[in-house]
Amino acid sequence: MTDQDITFTIDGVAITAKPGQTIMEAADDAGVYIPRLCDHEGLRHQGGCRVCTVKANGRSVAACTQPAAPGQTVENETPHINKLRRDLVEMLFHEGNHLCPICEASGNCELQAMAYRLEMGEPTKFPYLEPSRALDASHHDIALDTNRCISCGRCIRASKDVDGKGVFGYVGRGIHRRVAVNGEDLAHTDADASDHAMSDEVCPVGCIIRKRVGFATPIGEREFDKGLIGYEIEGKRRG
């Protein structure tokens, strides 16, 4: 800890942040998990999914973009906040076509894992929007099913900032806003299976599909069969 370090609390736990760190960055370092979907390690913060909503001194903010402030009281895992998050996750489920039983991302899917963590188990009242967008299987190694896209934009940032390519971008507005590719279809972009944007960690759902590796790991032995999403960050604190 240096003189400039900031201290604040999350759910009563004292947290130390370096100057300029967001609430989430400081929480991650301290082993306190704040649920998130559009945020991903190594990528710019976006603040779009709002699943990381916390109350900072009573005001709702996105933990991924809100700078940590000295003496701040942050609420994270309260029943109310988790209810807001559950609503947001359910919104994403209902916005796209998320049929876990037929999705090869099942078990590795962060949206699904977030639903488990937030105990999304009650009958829902949200309507299903049931988009019907064409599957883009033009590329030799990668397929895109944007009906499963949750508009997190992680692939956009990964491709632009990490790969230096810009294969993806947002188009449209409002409920029609979606991730599209920089060309007629994926085959007409410089996308490559070795891109960071195409790696299994970037797309949180089953939208970017790498061909021929689908069920290499069987259901039941996948990422979130090891533990609830966030277990790695929470593991830091337990030591």
């Binding site: 913060h45 709702s60 807001l84 919104m91 916005e95 064409a134 060309g183 007629e184």
Partner: protein, 625 residues
């Protein structure tokens, strides 16, 4: 695939459309110095000239501005007035506000459809015409209204619509239809030939007599700090709706050490039912620029932008003329009024059909040539705004007030209105009243007083502040128009007892769905759910627990949205649930023995009944008879 994906639409008509010469696109880009921050201007020019933004155009623009095609497409697909399919030589945009609907929009649409032989949403096969709906174009005091290319037509009747359609078909330009000698008219005369001002009550500050540049001359004798102290002491608060103290905003920006500062005027008056800035821009454009110039002196800005909503394109020439005139008279440009070092100039940034651009951060994004998405806060615009520099963004009315305060003094302004709400306010009154139009009054007026003045005593409901504001019932008409009681950016919409509250609410929700930028989940998705739920209420297909569902979902959207749009979009529902509860409870259908009365088996099997050409064994009771 059953649906039309954008790609299919693109390849379809592209065959019949003459190709757009690449060198012309290159030349348009060069007009703007191939500057990516002028993307909206570039694409607007392409749209005006070639009537669509083709995939090829996007590639050319991208290579000229050193962007990728998808980044250009992101902008092109964001704004309603830019199109990725070819539009007609004349595009008729019918204002689809609730006020227009109540004023007979359906008959107007029908008249145009019949005359032009196309439905709303279509383009004629020979590409003469496109007919579409657009949200409120700021003409609620003279509805029904429409835009015909860059021209505005108001007080439409089916006959007038037919006349317009026939003249257009006969080859007349929209401008020629407005006036035979349109080209000879001054820009001001052109504007008033299209749109009435409807000033019903002029107050002491803005709409009464205003001396030329008296405030600016006072400002020249003051230090920037003195100017800002004066504005702060006057009690002036932002007039766009949020009501932030103007003096403090300027001080924050001035305190920020930076190479440049910017002053931006928010003339993206998009809140349905609001048209005060339209009148100010028509009648007080000099006062606006004077106010911006004063702000520039206060915060040390050398450059400014007036962000004019695309719907007000008919005012562009008027504003450009004012700017040119002021430059010629030494009121803009270098060494303003001979004061060495006081340099300030500004440009007009046209919008292209996006309500969200009225949000400060989204407005800045749009000026930067990006999709109109709000920015992450912090940093705030006063710290890092346009192109990363400290930026003051104020509403048209706010700048006009500021100029008047410099002229008449802080105390003069402070003494008008009431505690916390000083000075006068412009109220745009529309709907079911005898005298719709613009009223300037000191803050503190009650709704009853206003209704009496506008001839709206029969009102059953008043929407204060537009859809994002508050819908009140008769029992609240004693409430006052102040920041602390009924806050409004200016819209006062009067509804008589004839109107269906749920119809109004459903319209407002469809407006927010249309105008959400889509950046954050709750606003993008949640508003669609709210709209669908209200639709269920209107059809009588809501469960009793849907009332709690509306409240609950609204709460989530408000608490988790990223900007003001989502934080206020559930207001039509929440305020009507509170003030008109019976409207909702009368429409719900309770389940019987746990069986939902809201599931309609008859309509669910109707399609199959027709397809199979037989009745149902189970649900057609007379089958065996």
């Amino acid at each position: 695939m059953a649906t039309n994906t954008p790609d299919e639409q693109m390849t379809g008509p592209a065959v019949s459309v003459p190709s757009i010469p690449v060198e012309e696109i290159v030349s348009i880009c060069q007009t703007y110095g191939n500057d990516r921050h002028r993307m909206l201007d570039i694409l607007r020019d392409v749209q005006d000239r070639f009537r669509w933004i083709s995939p090829k155009v996007m590639e050319t623009v991208a290579s000229q501005t050193c962007l990728s095609r998808i980044e250009v497409e992101g902008v092109a697909s964001f704004y309603s007035f830019l199109s990725q399919t070819p539009k007609g030589r004349v595009t008729i945009r019918l204002c689809d506000d609730i006020i227009d609907r109540f004023a007979g929009l359906a008959a107007i649409a029908e008249a145009f459809e019949e005359e032009l032989g196309i439905k709303v949403g279509e383009t004629s096969p020979d590409e003469s015409f496109s007919l579409e709906y657009t949200p409120c174009i700021g003409m609620c005091d003279q509805a029904p209204a429409a835009m015909v290319n860059d021209v505005v037509v108001t007080k439409l009747t089916p006959d007038l619509a037919r006349q317009w359609a026939q003249s257009l078909k006969a080859g007349k330009s929209p401008e020629e239809i407005v006036s035979d000698r349109f080209a000879d008219l001054s820009p001001h005369a052109r504007a008033t030939a299209q749109v009435d001002n409807n000033i019903r009550h002029a107050g002491a500050v803005l709409l009464g007599p205003v001396p030329d540049d008296a405030g600016l001359k006072t400002a020249l004798g003051l230090t920037p700090v003195q100017i800002m102290d004066m504005i702060e002491a006057s009690g002036l608060r932002g007039c766009g709706g949020a009501g932030f103290t103007t003096g403090r905003k300027w001080k924050f920006a001035a305190a920020e050490k930076a190479e440049k500062h910017f002053v931006l005027c928010n003339a993206d008056e998009g809140e349905p039912g609001t048209f005060k800035d339209r009148v100010l821009l028509t009648e007080r454009p000099h006062l606006l620029v004077e106010g911006m110039t004063i702000a520039a002196r206060a915060v040390g800005a050398r450059e400014g932008i007036i962000y004019l909503r695309g719907e007000y394109v008919y005012l562009r020439d008027l504003i450009e003329e004012v700017l040119a005139d002021r430059r010629a008279r030494g009121l803009l440009g270098e060494a303003i009024l001979g004061v060495e070092g006081f340099d300030f100039d500004l440009r007009v940034q046209m919008g292209a059909g996006a309500y969200i651009c009225g949000e400060e951060g989204a407005l800045i994004s749009s000026c930067e040539g990006l999709p109109g998405e709000p920015k992450t806060r912090p940093p705030f615009p006063v710290n890092r705004g346009y192109l990363g520099y400290p930026t003051v963004v104020n509403n048209v009315e706010t700048f006009c007030h500021a100029a008047r305060i410099l002229d008449r003094g802080a105390q003069w302004f402070f003494d008008m209105g009431e505690e916390g709400s000083h000075g006068t306010k412009l109220f745009s009154v529309s709907g079911d009243c005898l005298n719709p139009g613009l009223y300037e009054f000191p803050y503190g007026l009650t709704i009853n007083e206003l209704l009496e003045m506008v001839g709206g005593e029969d009102a059953a409901a008043v929407q204060v502040g537009g859809p994002s504001g508050t819908m009140i019932a008769r029992d609240s008409f004693h409430r006052r128009l102040t920041f602390d009681d009924l806050a409004t950016g200016g819209a006062i919409i009067v509804f008589s007892g004839e109107r269906n509250v749920l119809e109004i609410v459903e319209y407002y929700m469809s407006f927010f769905v249309h105008e959400s930028c889509g950046y954050c989940t709750p606003c993008r998705v949640g508003n669609v759910f709210l709209q669908k739920a209200i639709g269920k209420f209107r059809k009588g297909l809501a469960n009793p627990e849907d009332i709690d569902y509306l409240k609950d979902l609204s709460g989530t959207i408000i608490e988790t949205s990223r900007c003001g749009l989502g934080m206020t979009s559930p207001n039509p529902i929440l305020t009507t649930l509170k003030n008109f509860p019976l409207v909702y409870s009368a429409m719900v259908k309770p389940s019987k023995d746990g069986i939902r009365a809201t599931f309609d088996i008859q309509s669910a099997i109707d399609g199959a009944r027709h397809l199979a050409k037989r009745r149902s064994y189970i649900y057609d009771e007379d089958f065996s008879k």
